[in-house]
């Protein structure tokens, strides 16, 4: 069995940019989420503010309430600006992790996707730490006393790595186990239904938990730096 950390290459653009099947699945997820967001947002355009929500508007409001409540609970009232970022992150991660249910390899089982998301969080964390100016930023590395400087730097750099590998390892191992089970059942294909309950653990449970953990850890890293 051949396994790769980054999907199979479909097309090479100028020999620099490689388009893998994971990238195509990611585009599909982006399109799906964009359409949902467009139609969800259009409901609330030109809508009188005192009118009670009805029908599908309730669902959109419930999703927004869920995400904004989560962000405000974990990061505090003054960090409301992060609602859009973490809402997008959670929606993308959830759909990407659950895409194993419809037969795709989840894009989050690709090291490049998870690394990109972890780098986004890393940039946000550094930006938050830099808010007090260069001097206090550098002083933050010498806390609580100066000899801990190398340890602090290692800890700072290790955070995006652990975010990357946690998501990647969980999703890749789930995908590998499902592939192994299906490969074992190929000769006795009428028994394919035996593998279905495993999807519930490896795709639904692990996917939702990993989404929650990635988002909450990102929030925790950012609030730690305030």
């Amino acid at each position: 069995m051949q396994v790769s950390i980054g999907g199979t290459v479909l097309y090479r653009l100028f020999n620099i940019i490689t388009i893998t099947d994971m990238v195509v699945v990611t585009w599909g997820i982006m399109l799906f989420l964009s359409i949902l967001a467009y139609f969800g947002g259009r409901l609330f355009k030109n809508r009188p503010i005192d009118k009670p929500p009805e029908g599908i508007e309730n669902v959109v409001e419930a999703i927004y309430d869920l995400i904004s409540g989560f962000v405000v609970n974990s990061m505090g009232e003054h960090n409301k600006k992060y609602i859009s970022y973490f809402g997008t992150l959670a929606a993308f991660l959830l759909v990407a992790n659950l895409s194993g249910l419809v037969g795709f390899r989840p894009p989050t089982s690709d090291l490049h996707t998870t690394a990109a998301l972890a780098i986004l969080t890393f940039i946000l964390v550094q930006k938050t730490a830099f808010r007090g100016g260069l001097l206090s930023y550098l002083k933050g590395f010498a806390e609580p006393f100066f000899p801990l400087l190398p340890l602090n730097i290692i800890g700072e750099v290790a955070a995006p790595f652990s975010l990357t590998f946690r998501l990647f390892g969980n999703l890749l191992s789930g995908y590998l186990i499902m592939t192994i089970v299906y490969t074992a059942l190929v000769k006795i294909w009428p028994l394919f239904f035996l593998a279905q309950p495993l999807h519930f653990y490896f795709d639904v449970f692990a996917g939702v938990i990993q989404t929650l953990i990635f988002v909450s850890l990102s929030m925790a890293y950012i609030t730690n730096k305030e």
Partner: protein, 94 residues
């Protein structure tokens, strides 16, 4: 006639060592298993003592477990790398 290791045998030895190393790397799964079980047990006690703050306890427990799971995930990644990407084959220079 002195015994000579041919390229095929050398490759086989490297693959064999990689497979054994991958298996040994997964022993690291013991640590997160014990740690996460301990965390879940403590969370059970906390919920029994204060059932009204169950949501907060579960969320904190999950984050703590995710952090302590990191070592297990690292070992899993090393085992996967040793089994499927064979990084040591390149050192043979064949």
């Amino acid at each position: 006639m002195p015994f000579e290791i041919g390229p095929l045998l050398a490759k086989a030895i490297v693959l064999c060592g990689s497979a054994i190393g991958g298996g040994i790397a997964l022993i690291a799964g013991i640590g997160p298993g014990i740690g996460e079980g301990y965390t879940a047990g403590k969370a059970c006690e906390a919920v029994a003592r204060q059932p009204e703050s169950e949501g907060m306890i579960v969320r904190t427990m999950l984050i703590g477990q995710a952090v302590s799971e990191t070592t297990g995930i690292y070992s899993l990644f090393f085992a996967l790398a040793l089994l499927f990407f064979n990084p040591l084959i390149g050192y043979l220079g064949l």
